[in-house]
């Protein structure tokens, strides 16, 4: 089937009147997603592509007349924490945080609050998630017609620290006839709501998913956590990984940060080569070239 989303998933967009949020709303509606409201404080009574705008999440829930499943949060960094906690306090269980540059103390607070309430956060600094042909939540894949080009339903679960690369990789899986079960842009920050290992149980339980592809970068120990998870849980799913940013291992690049905030290379543990070693040890194949992914996935599925 899919993970986290299905054809009945309802969600709101917090910060819906912002420029990027208006685009994202259009894209999701065109793709068939059920957006049941938007929130921008002080803008109650407006509409964005036919979606009613409210001052508070509570008003959006009351208007919908039933619990709302999710929220895409696109408010400025200084307001994100409050917006996310507001959503969770109003019964929302799936949060996609698009906003970049949120201090990690705030992220950690939101995650802890979500854990206490049985809610799950994807992001921050992410493009959301997509179940091909069914629903997309966030800017992932872009406009509906572009998303349709890159994403066809299939057997591979995709998780990526880069929003753009989620689509680049999914597009190659689609072109190879493998398709995608669910693709998740997990976010590029040092602390994120859902890591690879934390999403693995969902994919493991999803019958449609037969293999996993991850896109990863230097920084942090999320890959080590995935390697541990795979070993401890004897997962049925073959995992193929692609590591970008190997050039950062060079001596002259030490202490530099490229791309995402999570990719500051601080020590040996974080380096690309160290991570590749850990993943390989857990039986996770790390491909050298991005265009090798579909073939390697095919071979792994066939056993």
């Amino acid at each position: 089937m899919s993970i986290l989303l299905d054809k009945d998933t309802t969600f709101i967009v917090q910060g819906i009147t912002g420029r990027e949020a208006i685009n994202l709303t259009r894209e999701c509606l065109d793709y068939g997603s059920k957006i049941v409201g938007g929130v921008t404080p002080g803008r109650k009574g407006r509409e964005v592509h036919g979606v009613p705008v409210f001052d508070t999440v509570a008003q959006a829930v009351a208007n919908h007349g039933a619990a709302i499943d999710g929220s895409v949060v696109t408010v400025p960094p200084g307001f994100t924490k409050d917006a996310v906690i507001e959503a969770i306090a109003n019964g929302i269980k799936l949060l996609v945080i698009v906003t970049e540059r949120i201090p990690r103390g705030d992220v950690a607070e939101m995650v802890e609050f979500a854990d206490m309430h049985g809610a799950r956060i994807i992001g921050p600094n992410c493009l959301g998630l997509i179940v091909p042909g069914v629903c997309k939540m966030g800017g992932i894949g872009g406009p509906a017609k572009d998303a349709a080009k890159s994403y066809e339903p299939g057997v591979v679960g995709v998780m990526s620290r880069s929003g753009g690369m989620t689509t680049e990789i999914s597009s190659s899986l689609t072109a190879a006839g493998l398709g995608v079960s669910t693709a998740v842009s997990i976010g590029g920050d040092a602390i994120i709501g859902s890591t690879y290992a934390e999403l693995m149980p969902y994919f493991e339980a999803d019958e449609q998913t037969r293999a996993i592809v991850i896109y990863t970068e230097p920084g942090g120990r999320m890959e080590a956590q995935l390697a541990e998870w795979k070993t401890e849980n004897n997962s049925r799913l073959p995992i193929v990984a692609f590591m970008a940013g190997k050039f950062m291992d060079d001596e002259e690049m030490q202490g530099m940060s490229f791309g995402h905030a999570g990719t500051i290379v601080e020590g040996k543990e974080d380096s690309a080569n160290e991570k590749i070693k850990r993943l390989e040890e857990a039986g996770i194949r790390v491909v050298e070239r991005i265009d090798e992914i579909p073939d390697v996935v095919k071979k792994r599925i066939e056993g």
Partner: protein
């Protein structure tokens, strides 16, 4: 954002943790006066944002104010790892009974701050953790609930510390944990935390780092308490002219985002490439196939023609650049026709033939049909999404190697 030791000590002091009566000095004369006030043996420490001060001779001991002034004069002139100190710290030479370590760091896996304590202070905590794991206590703190003293006490007691030492160290670690959270720190360390011969605990050295994303909301501490100027960003290295120029072009126009870095790059192939993960992937792909990138770059969002042109011009004008490769990943919202216009304009403005100068243009993205038309018009070689990032990078490398040969 990194802090000098004298600032880190001030942060510790503001949190109510005892420190010695130290003074920050920028001249030998000031150092003499502080040493006179202290009235006993002193330690003179270089204030520089790099490690290995002791080894480099940046820490000296003095018995008299005259000696303190002399050491200060020398240390003020002493470069450590290529950096000149901003001053010296003059500190009373403490009568130490025992050295401890107290620290708080982020645990990204648990997504919570982690308190660390050791009764083997004064040395690198990582070394202690490896060689004497039973001498390191650990404990996570909540991001939501107040930090209780008992939590710090548990961490310290786990190392076997008891008696009055436990009771004196507990508030220090608890206050350090609170200041870590309140001030958006990435790292807060007191090492050594010293137990003096009179039984009191003082922070003898402190190391702090604040998250850059939080600098905007920590103005009270940074500007008012520490008097750090806004433009003093404490970058870990001096940005190059290329980096400064790209930053200025980016800041001049709010549409789209461009980034350029060339620290550590010395190649002949300029890169104008699409955002984040795609840029990391492409930089690797160029290098793995024998190419020599002249820079790293990112284009994201929806930049104006002027912005795309500005980035391309900066890349083209870098020393040693022979050709540029323009490669976009399937980032749906960046209009590639605008990127194409910008890059071609950059070539023309610099009297270069776009067909010769642009090694390859990988075009997938919004408005790609429009983009193709422009590239056709100028005879620029381009490819679509059916050519992988790896192959596009390979074609660029092959072209420039043919050109160089």
């Amino acid at each position: 954002m990194r802090f000098y030791e004298y600032e880190a000590r001030k942060i510790v002091e503001l949190a109510g943790i005892p420190v010695t009566k130290y003074g920050f000095c920028q001249t030998a004369d000031e150092a003499r006066k502080v040493a006179e006030d202290i009235g006993g043996p002193t330690v003179i420490k270089s204030q520089v944002l790099t490690g290995g001060r002791m080894k480099a001779g940046g820490v000296q001991f003095a018995d008299t104010p005259e000696e303190a002034a002399e050491h200060a004069a020398n240390i003020l002139e002493l470069e450590i790892n290529g950096l000149k100190p901003v001053g010296v710290l003059v500190d009373p030479k403490a009568e130490i009974k025992q050295e401890y370590y107290a620290g708080v760091v982020w645990d990204g896996t648990a997504k919570k701050p982690l308190m660390l304590f050791s009764d083997m202070g004064g040395i690198d905590i990582e070394q202690v953790a490896e060689e004497h794991p039973d001498h390191v206590g650990r404990g996570h703190i909540s991001n939501l609930l107040p930090v209780g003293d008992f939590e710090a006490k548990q961490v310290i007691a786990a190392t076997g510390v008891t008696g009055s030492q436990l009771n004196r160290a507990t508030p220090v670690l608890a206050k350090l944990a609170r200041l870590f959270r309140d001030n958006d720190m990435l790292l807060a360390e007191i090492n050594p935390l010293a137990e003096l011969t009179d039984g009191s605990f003082v922070a003898l050295d402190a190391h702090m780092e604040m998250e850059d994303e939080a600098v905007g909301r920590q103005k009270k501490l940074l500007r008012r308490e520490l008097r750090i100027a806004e433009e003093d960003t404490r970058d870990s290295y001096e940005p190059s002219q290329f980096e400064k120029n790209v930053k200025a072009i980016d800041a001049a126009d709010h549409r789209g985002v461009i980034q350029g870095k060339d620290h550590g790059f010395k190649g002949n192939l300029g890169l104008v490439i699409g955002a984040g993960g795609g840029s990391l992937t492409l930089t690797d792909a160029v290098r793995s196939q024998g190419g020599k990138p002249a820079n790293y770059s990112e284009i994201g969002g929806n930049p104006s023609v002027a912005k795309a042109c500005g980035l391309a011009k900066e890349v083209l004008q870098k020393d040693g650049v022979e050709k540029i490769a323009v490669m976009m990943s399937i980032v749906s919202n960046t209009r590639v026709d605008i990127v194409a216009r910008g890059v071609i304009k950059a070539c023309l403005d610099l009297d270069k033939d776009p067909a010769e100068t642009i090694a390859i243009f990988r075009i997938p993205g919004a408005w790609e049909d429009e983009g193709s038309k422009i590239l056709d018009h100028y005879g620029v070689e381009y490819c679509d999404r059916t050519v992988s990032l790896w192959d596009a990078a390979g074609r660029a490398v092959a072209k420039i190697q043919g050109f160089s040969a």
